[in-house]
Amino acid sequence: MVTLRDKYHDVGNKINVALMGIGIARKYIESLDASGMDRQNIQASIESCAVAERALLEVDGSLLRLKSLAYRFSNPDLAIDEAVVSIKKENVMVSILIVDDEPEVCNLVKRLYERRGFNVSFALGGVAAIEMLKTTDPDIVILDLNLGDTVDGREVLKFIRREKPQTRCIVVTGEDDEERIENIAALAPDDILIKPILAAHLDAKVSGLIAKIKK
């Protein structure tokens, strides 16, 4: 039985590995100061840093996953498998619409959230999205802004805000300069994610919105 508490311990162990790596690297670098150029020390220092970096990246990934789990787990000693079953039952009530012009992305995100028990549909492009939104009321829309369609993501977002004020919307965009982000924020999405992202980033945002919906 693997619990959330076990997962936390696992992350703790990785942090320790990273800290040890950094400690060793620092020791070598200090000895380097004392002894001048020493190829072996430099190599050992680089290797220790690589170990630390790898462990920290694993920690980063684990923390993101834990963050999305933490939104949904009230009891850290509950077996993860059991908790996932109960979460799935609750998630059936939540509907997600994915709007993207890439069929591959739509299918992958659909698989990701169907696995979590959500009721998932997708629209390939802005025109299809508006048509779907006229007849359905998704709880959450995951919206790619650059749809390369006659109706772009901004138009879809304006439609959602005008016609479906209850619908939560996460915008996914490749645009990252401040001015453009401010322009997107002015259209009042619930959240903005800048591509490229990991599934865990998206998951954390979706979980946050679900927590708000269920309140």
Partner: protein, 153 residues
């Protein structure tokens, strides 16, 4: 969807018309940040075709993908016509950066989703995902070559 290729061609022509030049130090930084990692992913994924990617390799792949996503965030919009590197951050002409976000950002997003979704479902990656990841990496390289052709040597 049909207007996207036109837009890309227009942006590439704009780069060419403005005679934008990317200095060697910027390409070196690109190579260090992104090129090396793309190469690692390519090597790992193409090592053994026709069979699923084993769980331990998926773990390594996951780390490479996280590193790639992080490295891509170190590429930012700079001043029009100028490309430079400062404190490990690569600043690109805004049009070049937009193209980079469109091509490379989207392909990285797809690779990350493929690895994450399949990893979560089975802890391994089906053989056909190898091909899809390699296609995404190939499309990144094709874009970089097209971009290089539009730049001043």
């Amino acid at each position: 969807m049909s207007n996207v290729p036109d837009l890309i061609e227009r942006l590439l022509k704009d780069i060419s018309d403005r005679r934008v030049c990317i200095p060697a130090e910027v390409w070196m930084a690109w190579g260090e940040n992104m090129g090396g990692l793309l190469n690692k992913v390519q090597t790992l994924v193409s090592r053994e075709t026709g069979v699923p990617i084993a769980a331990e390799d998926v773990e390594t792949l996951n780390i490479y993908v996280q590193q790639l996503v992080r490295a891509f965030k170190l590429i930012r919009r700079g001043t029009m016509g100028k490309n430079s590197v400062k404190d490990g951050v690569v600043y690109l002409d805004p049009v070049v950066k937009d193209l980079m976000a469109h091509y490379v950002g989207n392909d990285l997003y797809k690779i990350a989703l493929m690895v994450d979704v399949n990893d979560e479902e089975t802890a391994t990656l089906p053989a056909e995902v190898r091909e899809k990841i390699l296609r995404c990496i190939g499309s990144i390289y094709v874009f970089i070559e097209r971009l290089k052709r539009s730049l001043v040597a």
